[in-house]
């Protein structure tokens, strides 16, 4: 159970240690102290290990994560879990802009608020934000799910593809081609499962959410849509 003090060990050394982990390693839990907002902490991990960061992380924390369970006991800077492939990232504080950007898979849970562009260009990641998200969230999101227990800022789901968006609170405005859709049983079931995975089993009622998705009017060029392009 190694503890890494980033005031002593360089970030590059620590990340290299994580990248060099052999299959079936006995080191399955790493505790990181003194992160002090450093960038790219535990980026590029591809191993079924748990990494717990005690404090605030900087940009691109847990970026490209594959299989690891990464916990930030604090807030995270721009692009937390960006391009995540699989595994789980849990931010106990707030997340800055572009949380979970371009993520292909895995689950990102943010206990606080996420800033602008949360889930931008998502390609399969599931994101659960217990607070609110900022403007332009889920912009051009292709696949995956964004669940927001609080409110969403302006232009939610602008130019959305096939990602599913669920918001329990107020949506300031919807972006181009994003519309509200009926919340049917199949959706509340899927949402309930995801909330359970995010550790909210029974605490939140899936039927309180509203569902948003793509109107699919911008997929192909259409003269009548010229103003929306």
């Amino acid at each position: 159970m190694p503890t890494i003090d980033l005031d002593v060990t360089t970030l590059r050394e620590f990340n290299q240690t994580l990248h060099d982990l052999a299959e079936g390693t006995n080191d399955t839990y790493f505790r990181v102290v003194n992160p002090r907002g450093r960038h790219a902490i535990a980026a590029g991990v591809d191993a079924p290990v748990t990494i717990e960061i005690d404090g605030n992380a900087g940009y691109y924390c847990a970026g490209m994560n594959k299989r690891a369970n990464i916990i930030v006991n604090g807030s995270a800077g721009v692009g937390v879990a960006e391009n995540m492939m699989s595994g789980r990232v849990h931010v106990k504080g707030d997340a800055s802009a572009s949380a979970g950007a371009t993520g292909c898979g895995g689950l990102l849970v943010i206990d606080g608020n996420a800033s602008s562009r949360c889930g931008i260009s998502a390609r399969g990641i599931d994101i659960v934000v217990k607070g609110s998200v900022g403007h332009m969230s889920a912009f051009m999101a292709q696949a995956g799910t964004l669940v927001v227990l609080g409110d969403a800022g302006d232009a939610l789901g602008d130019s959305l593809y096939e990602a599913r968006l669920f918001v329990r609170g107020k949506v300031n405005s919807l972006g181009s081609d994003c519309i509200e859709k009926p919340l049917r049983d199949e959706h509340t079931q899927g949402l309930g499962k995801l909330l359970k995975e995010a550790g909210l089993n029974g605490q939140v009622n899936p039927s309180e959410f509203r569902r948003y998705g793509s109107a699919r009017q911008l997929y192909h060029f259409h003269m009548d849509n010229l103003e929306a392009y």
């Binding site: 800077g77 602008s116 403007h135």
Partner: protein, 299 residues
């Protein structure tokens, strides 16, 4: 990219440490803007005097001699404090215009970078931590200060292009971003009679704010109007005699983090800049919202 830090002390007991806190914050932002740096510190001052910060472009400047001749020209004693390439001349209130003309007439290789009852401004080309050391920022005291590390995009790497820009008494501005309509706005402001010293986009923003304030706007109103009149992306931190303000453009693509405790309000382009402040673990830390004016003032 550029980096900004700002610190506003609520607890007067910390004032002797302002410079050391600010220089620590500035040093963490070196890699956001390695080409030049500058800072404004609001220190001692009284309403009977004005401090004129003069920067020399020549290493051979004789600031003491310049002070003597300035004193003779305005007919009053002038206190001179020299820090590397900058000299701060303390002159009686009411003599600023004459002092400016005198300094410019006596020396061709100086620039007046700012004036104010409490504000002093220092800037140079070079790595920000080295620039801070040259001016002994860590030894300065004051109630608040803002600092900038520059990665030039819109104009050349020169000391004239380094931030902060000051265009009004005790007012200064630092900027992360780039303005896309600065040429058009500069032309418009020139038509209104304003003059410009550089081709820099941030100077346009600083002069615009000073012009709005001269037309009767409060700083808050001036910042609100800039949302309509400035195009581009920006995070601004503005210093005044009493405090500092923060504004991000409506898209907010330039980063900003703030922290507040009972002792201070701090601004950083990134959390790294705030990580070494005392009590940061218990501070309220948040990102300022886009298109929202924030302002803190001394009481």
């Amino acid at each position: 990219m550029c980096g900004i830090v700002g610190l506003f002390l609520k607890n007067k007991a910390l004032e002797p440490k302002l410079g050391s806190m600010l220089s620590g914050m500035l040093a963490t932002m070196c890699d956001r803007g390695p080409d030049s740096a500058g800072f404004a510190v609001y220190g001692r001052g009284d309403s009977d005097h004005v401090k004129l910060t003069v920067r020399s472009t020549s290493p051979d400047i004789d600031f003491a001699g310049l002070g003597t001749r300035l004193s003779e020209a305005i007919g009053s004693p002038v206190a001179v404090e020299v820090r590397d390439s900058h000299g701060v001349f303390t002159i009686p209130e009411g003599s600023e215009e004459k002092a400016r003309k005198t300094v410019e007439a006596l020396c061709s290789d100086v620039r007046i970078v700012g004036s104010g009852t409490r504000m002093e401004i220092y800037k140079e080309v070079g790595r920000p931590d080295a620039v801070a050391k040259r001016f002994h920022l860590e030894q300065m005291s004051g109630s608040h200060g803002i600092a900038h590390t520059r990665m030039a995009t819109e104009s050349a790497v020169t000391t004239d292009g380094a931030h902060p820009f000051s265009t009004g008494r005790d007012q200064c501005l630092v900027h992360n971003g780039s303005l896309s309509n600065h040429n058009a706005l500069r032309r418009e402001l020139r038509r209104k009679g304003l003059s410009f010293e550089t081709e820099n986009d941030t100077e346009v923003a600083a002069r615009y704010l000073t012009w709005r304030i001269s037309q009767g706007d409060s700083l808050g109103d001036a910042l609100k109007h800039s949302l309509d009149d400035l195009d581009g992306f920006y995070t601004f931190v503005v210093g005044t005699e009493d405090g500092f303000g923060v504004l991000r453009d409506p898209i907010a693509c330039k980063p900003a983090v703030m922290a507040e405790t009972d002792d201070y309000v701090a601004f950083g382009s990134e959390y790294r800049a705030l990580a070494s402040l005392p009590g940061i673990d218990k501070a309220k830390v948040w990102e300022p919202k886009p298109a929202t004016v924030y302002f803190w003032e001394r009481h």
